[in-house]
Symmetry: C2
Subunit: 380 residues, 2 copies
């Protein structure tokens, strides 16, 4: 299908940009001498993941058991479920392992570790479990020097479970925007996770894997001594938040939302689009960054960004395109000429993970302007 024939709103992936992003990250990992395990929560799309694996990725990271089930069914068997497991989800995890999936679980507390051990004992099963380490205080995990790190390790190890490794995610990297700060956080992430592995090994627990990552720290890391693998997700498509952090340009962003102009409020300098928050998502991740893109950056169909314009407001199925400068909107009465009814635009999103989730499928666009559908799934 040609771009002009796609009904709007639609989520477009620029295949050439995506392949460039994949090659960039995998090349950097190869240079650093570590394995790369992409986080597939960004796209939940087997076509994208096949491209990541073809470029050299080793296994995948998932955020839900549904992703694990879907990607295992599609032929991927090395899967890290990177959210501390709720004990009630263990039967689903066991079913996957019994089908042959090399599924690794994550915990960060003794209660869940004991629940895994008890469930494993009850069902004659041994789970591989990785321990989540907190290296930046932004969310979950055990700090490297905390006593409960060894408690969790021992509960698993002494009850027949395999401590496969330690993993951390320096999600606070999303709050930074200089190369120096990102490099420093990447080193903090590396050092903390390596230290946690060292403590476990000194306590007689093998802990072979040391897994770190977020897109900004992965790209900023200068050396990863002691690390065995890196995880990152959003790098595959990038977005406006990543642009503001400084790890990609607007021209690297591979996801856009195709939209049509359906109306105007000329007195206010508004063009109304058929892409509202249901298409763009409610993610306003750039609102606290140096450059606030509203609900997205409009571009021409050929991808050229329309400097000075943003999607400044959104209802469920209506987006408001206007001057980025609030003060000059009322002077923009030429909006009806510049953006006539029926004109199609591409909107770069704040956050590729949340915008993608609004769509059942991507339209993957080749350099000659043709597209194919790549399905994605949602739910848990």
């Amino acid at each position: 299908m040609k771009l002009e024939q796609i009904d709007t709103p639609a989520a477009l992936i620029d295949i050439a940009r995506m392949q460039k992003n994949i090659a960039r990250m995998q090349g950097h990992m190869n240079t650093l001498g570590v394995a790369f395990r992409p986080h597939v929560k960004t796209t939940k799309c087997i076509d994208v993941v096949r491209a990541q694996i073809a470029a050299g990725a080793r296994g995948i990271t998932v955020s839900t058991l549904k992703e694990a089930e879907a990607f295992y069914a599609a032929g991927v068997d090395d899967i890290l479920y990177a959210v501390s497991i709720a004990p009630s989800k263990l039967p689903r995890a066991l079913a996957l392992r019994r089908q042959g999936c090399n599924l690794k679980l994550v915990v960060d507390n003794p209660t869940a570790a004991a629940a895994i051990a008890a469930f494993g004992d009850q069902h004659g099963a041994s789970f591989e479990v990785w321990i989540e380490v907190d290296t930046d205080g932004h969310r979950s995990g055990i700090t490297p020097e905390h006593e409960s790190l060894l408690d969790v390790g021992r509960i698993l190890h002494e009850n027949g479970m395999t401590v496969g490794g330690v993993m951390t995610h320096a999600g606070s990297s999303y709050e930074l925007d200089t190369a120096e700060a990102l490099a420093a956080l990447a080193e903090q992430e590396r050092a903390g996770c390596v230290r946690a592995a060292q403590r476990l090994r000194e306590a007689g627990i093998a802990c072979p894997e040391v897994s770190v990552g977020s897109t900004p720290t992965a790209l900023a890391a200068a050396q990863l001594e002691g690390v065995t693998e890196v995880r990152a997700g959003v790098y595959v498509l990038f977005d406006l938040v990543m642009h503001n952090i400084g790890v990609c340009s607007l021209e690297d962003i591979a996801l856009s939302v195709l939209a049509t102009v359906i109306g105007h409020q000329a007195d206010k300098g508004w063009a109304i689009l058929d892409a509202g928050w249901m298409a763009m998502s409610r993610d306003r991740g750039t609102s606290n960054q140096a450059h606030d893109f509203g609900y997205g950056q409009p571009c021409l169909l050929n991808g050229t960004p329309l400097a000075g314009y943003v999607v400044s407001g959104a209802n469920q199925e209506h987006g408001i395109l206007s001057s980025a400068d609030e003060g000059s909107r009322a002077d923009s009465q030429d909006i009806t000429q510049r953006f006539p009814i029926g004109m199609k635009l591409r909107i770069l999103p704040n956050h590729a993970c949340s915008t993608g989730a609004q769509f059942p499928e991507y339209h993957a666009v080749t350099p000659d302007g043709h597209s194919v559908q790549w399905m994605r799934f949602h739910g848990w």
Copy 2:
């Protein structure tokens, strides 16, 4: 299935609350002597819509052609597509009408009206079109006294299309929070839409229907003289935004997200949930209201709100439950006792339309605690 057996996160609908909300709105419409056309964009779920129709609704409102197609296939034939149509969508609209669907389109500008007329002429088809009226300046539509109102009416009328009515949506009601202000806006919405119909009729265009509505103005309206029907969507489930506006209590909110405690950061007073923004949505609709509920209001499994706690932060699959009072979080080290690993909670959402869209299905819960799955669809 019993509530305790549902895997988390899950979207729950309390059927008793939903039926009460439906009866309240339909009863109010009956008292006012107007028809009621629910906006099904909130749930995109045929089971919910059947309950609305059973209570007396006449036809439905949709926000996408996919909704129109799905609900027509499920047996609903009186459908208002309440977004100004992009000319490129006319072939899908025509296909629906040729199948027998009584689909009504909406426009608010001469260009789109001319495109409908030209397309209808080209295909030997007559569309029923309603003209969108702007009664509060918040989004789309033509103001009642604007000259282009009659231009649009004449383009349609003189080219064989049927001007079925005028419609308006006072979406600025979401910014109010007093009964007086809502009643005043309901009257403004009514009067503006009735005036637009009067101008069209005086110009010789029949315009039989006068359609108004948003959940807050529908509930606040004291009289609707000249109006033939009302539209509203979120009233069926309600949410925290509607609570803050003052049109429902917490006990009326029929949608909640079932979540499990999966970790803690005791030093910070955090319990970590397996419901992040992928489950709650990124909607922060209460952030600009008098009571900011963060990403949601936690409740016990029986529905009792846990006063003083909110979901204060969210990543994709992690929610942070903490004291609503930021200053007292670090003193809440009893968080691990109060919210132990594995505990299940129900989180009331900011916005039922956006939270529901994150799930492929609802679990509809009966008063005795059993549930059945009600499917919903997404995409365009």
